[in-house]
């Protein structure tokens, strides 16, 4: 079987190269010691250092050798620990988004199935699955230090342009990297290279330092030579190391290609994928800025002019089809999967379906723990009316807005528009739009959420003045998106709860009818925090009290309603419509 032999060859070659690499690292240290020894020796003899016996100098040389090797090892360990942060870190770096395992999107479902199949074929655990939505090139990568915390990621382009078999080939290739521990290997190699790079940096520092001191005295001469030795030997070592590393990386790619054929038993899968990369203009290009840093992880070279980490497509294809000439391979046909043009009518139906669900969700929100709610007549079960009312509100929202809040980008804009006052939605829509948009945004990664909150904060602070309404909105967004909860929540004493309630009541009395009301945001949010940690009966009393306060003037404004909603949110209690 041809692919087993290919794997054997690639593995043997890597083993040799890794030995060569380690030898060259040690040799760099040895040569450096030797050169420095000569320099120092001649310097001391020139100084009349006849008291130096041969024994002494060899001991000193040994210590020097240990110091140099120690420096390399320390730098290596530092770099490895900073790189071994796991696959999720790399995925976030490149802007990839996680794919949910239960997915109704047929393309993604196919992708998930393929990953599961390959994990069976290779005998690895199923990794976390990611996708790069904005990349149109065909590419993929796997990352992670240990076999059980790996991630696998493909571009949207790969899913759309490759047939099922080809995508399977690509995923199998990535599984081979996981299976053979290539990420670990390449992180280690990068670490050692960094160790050698540090030597040149030490040399540079020494040259600079002695350059300054030599003006004052002649003692600096020796140090200059030592510095030059560090710089030159370290540089040569680094250069050789990089060469060896790039050929190791190439061998691993061949190995992964051969393993992909083993896992799928279908050379046309991975072969077709490579051919398509060769034929398409966009090829395997990756747009994300940070792609260059991790180019060794990818399936195809992410940059057009990057031959350091990947063998050329020609060589890879020749190995996959050993009986064919390059001319023949080049002329092989590739077919692209037919893509359905989305049917607007159908899409509309789907959107409506989603909205019916949302209506139900909003209506249900009122049922649980209903004894806390103010609208005592609405307490209890979800009534038909409740659902209908919610549905009516949602239906009355124009399609254009609905479409927007279903996408994360649109939802972000909508949420921010609440802050800069650009939103002029009808009062009855406000909450529904706000709620659905926040629901959409819960898919965002933590970093993206933080960024959005930061932007909102900036808008709030723009006019140097925090109005009660701004405060409430900001607080809801923060609470909903971050959903923080401590491991251990300290019980709140009765006095604390009491005083917190007073703060909130004062805020409700003063702030909700007067936009210029002066208050301390920190105090109010602390009070909310306090009460949210108290017992259910205290929460109930507090909520009833606040509702009474809001109701004092027999009329509930939008802001008042939002305030009560905020309090419910803080208490983790649903609020009826």
């Amino acid at each position: 079987l041809n692919f087993f032999r290919d794997q054997e060859i690639a593995k043997k070659k890597t083993r040799k190269l890794v030995y060569l690499f380690l030898v060259s690292v040690i040799a760099t240290g040895a040569v450096l010691t030797f050169v420095i020894g000569i320099v120092l020796n001649s310097y001391m003899q020139g100084d009349g250092g006849q008291y130096q016996s041969a024994n002494d100098s060899s001991g000193a040389l040994f210590v020097l050798f240990c110091i140099i090797c120690g420096t390399i090892v320390l730098a290596t360990l530092y770099k490895i620990s900073s790189l071994g942060k796991g696959g999720e870190y790399v995925a976030e770096l490149l802007g990839a988004t996680p794919v949910k395992r239960e997915n109704s999107d047929p393309d993604l479902k196919k992708y998930i199935n393929i990953v599961e199949e390959m994990s069976i074929a290779s005998g690895c655990p199923v990794p976390k699955i990611y996708i790069m939505e904005n990349e149109t090139g065909i590419n993929a990568f796997a990352a992670g230090y240990e076999i059980d915390d790996c991630i696998i990621c493909v571009t949207r382009g790969a899913i759309e342009k490759l047939s099922r078999d080809e995508l399977q080939g690509v995923v199998a290739h990535e599984f081979s990297h996981i299976f053979n521990g290539d990420m670990k290997l390449s992180i280690k190699l990068i670490g050692y290279l960094f160790g050698l790079l540090i030597l040149t940096q030490v040399g540079r520092v020494l040259m600079h330092a002695s350059g300054r001191s030599s003006r004052r005295s002649k003692d600096g001469n020796g140090i200059v030579f030592v510095g030059v030795a560090f710089f030159v030997v370290g540089g040569v070592g680094y250069f050789l190391g990089s060469l060896i590393k790039s050929s190791i990386s190439k061998q691993r790619e061949y190995l992964a290609d051969a393993s992909a054929v083993q896992f799928t038993r279908n050379p046309f899968g991975i072969g077709g994928a490579l051919l398509k990369i060769n034929k398409l203009i966009e090829g395997s290009t990756i747009m994300a800025n940070k792609a260059e840093e991790v180019s060794h992880l990818f399936f195809g070279a992410p940059m057009k002019m990057n031959f350091a980490s990947h063998p050329s497509l020609e060589n890879r294809l020749k190995r996959i089809y050993p009986n064919k000439k390059w001319k023949e391979i080049e002329q092989m046909e590739v077919t692209y999967p037919e893509r359905e043009v989305p049917d607007p009518q159908k899409e509309k139906k789907e959107v409506n379906n989603i909205f019916n669900n949302d209506a139900l969700k909003i209506a249900t929100a009122g049922t649980v723990l209903s004894s806390l709610s103010s609208r005592k007549e609405h307490i209890g079960e979800i009534t038909e009316d409740n659902v209908k009312a919610a549905k009516n509100i949602l239906d009355s929202i124009p399609q254009s807005i609905k479409g927007k809040i279903q996408t994360t980008d649109g939802a972000k804009l909508i949420i921010l528009s609440f802050f800069n006052g650009a939103s002029d939605f009808k009062d009855s829509w406000r909450y529904a739009i706000f709620e659905v948009a926040l629901g959409t945004l819960s898919e965002l990664s933590k970093n993206e959420k933080m960024e959005l909150i930061k932007k909102a904060k900036k808008l709030v602070l723009e006019d140097q003045l925090i109005t009660p309404s701004e405060f409430i909105l900001y607080y809801i967004v923060k609470k909903r998106l971050l959903n923080e909860r401590g491991f251990y929540e300290k019980k709140v004493s009765h006095e604390d709860a009491e005083s917190s309630l007073v703060t909130l009541v004062n805020f409700a009395r003063g702030g909700l009818n007067n936009d210029n009301y002066k208050f301390k945001p920190g105090e109010v949010s602390k009070a909310l925090e306090m009460l949210s940690r108290s017992s259910l009966s205290v929460k109930e009393k507090a909520l009833n009290k606040l509702i009474d306060v809001v109701n004092e003037d027999e009329e509930i404004t939008v802001l008042e309603e939002e305030f009560i909603r905020l309090v419910c949110q803080g208490f983790r209690v649903p609020f009826p419509l």
């Binding site: 199935n113 599961e116 199949e117 074929a121």
Partner: protein, 85 residues
């Protein structure tokens, strides 16, 4: 199943049928890959048992050759039929 969808082109375009076909393909693949992965491991193990230097250990502790997973039963070999009766 596939013949059925060939005969009715409209079926092919339907989302549910597509999902079903995808699931069927994937399930069949998974079974096949599991068998393949097992057999590959058996082969590797057997080779290690015969090859130097691991053969010494294998001989010392009398490791036996493992057998491949094969299906003799003709019925089990056939692909699963799906009908919508």
């Amino acid at each position: 199943m596939f013949a059925l969808s060939e005969a009715y082109p409209d079926l092919k375009a339907d989302g549910n049928i597509q999902t079903l076909m995808e699931e069927l393909t994937s399930t069949e693949n998974k079974i096949g890959f599991a068998r393949q992965s097992y057999n590959d491991s058996v082969m590797r193990y057997n080779i290690l048992c015969e090859e130097f230097p691991s053969a010494i250990i294998a001989g010392m502790f009398q490791f036996k050759q493992a057998t491949l997973f094969e299906i003799e039963n003709q019925v089990e070999r056939e692909t699963v039929k799906v009908s919508f009766d």
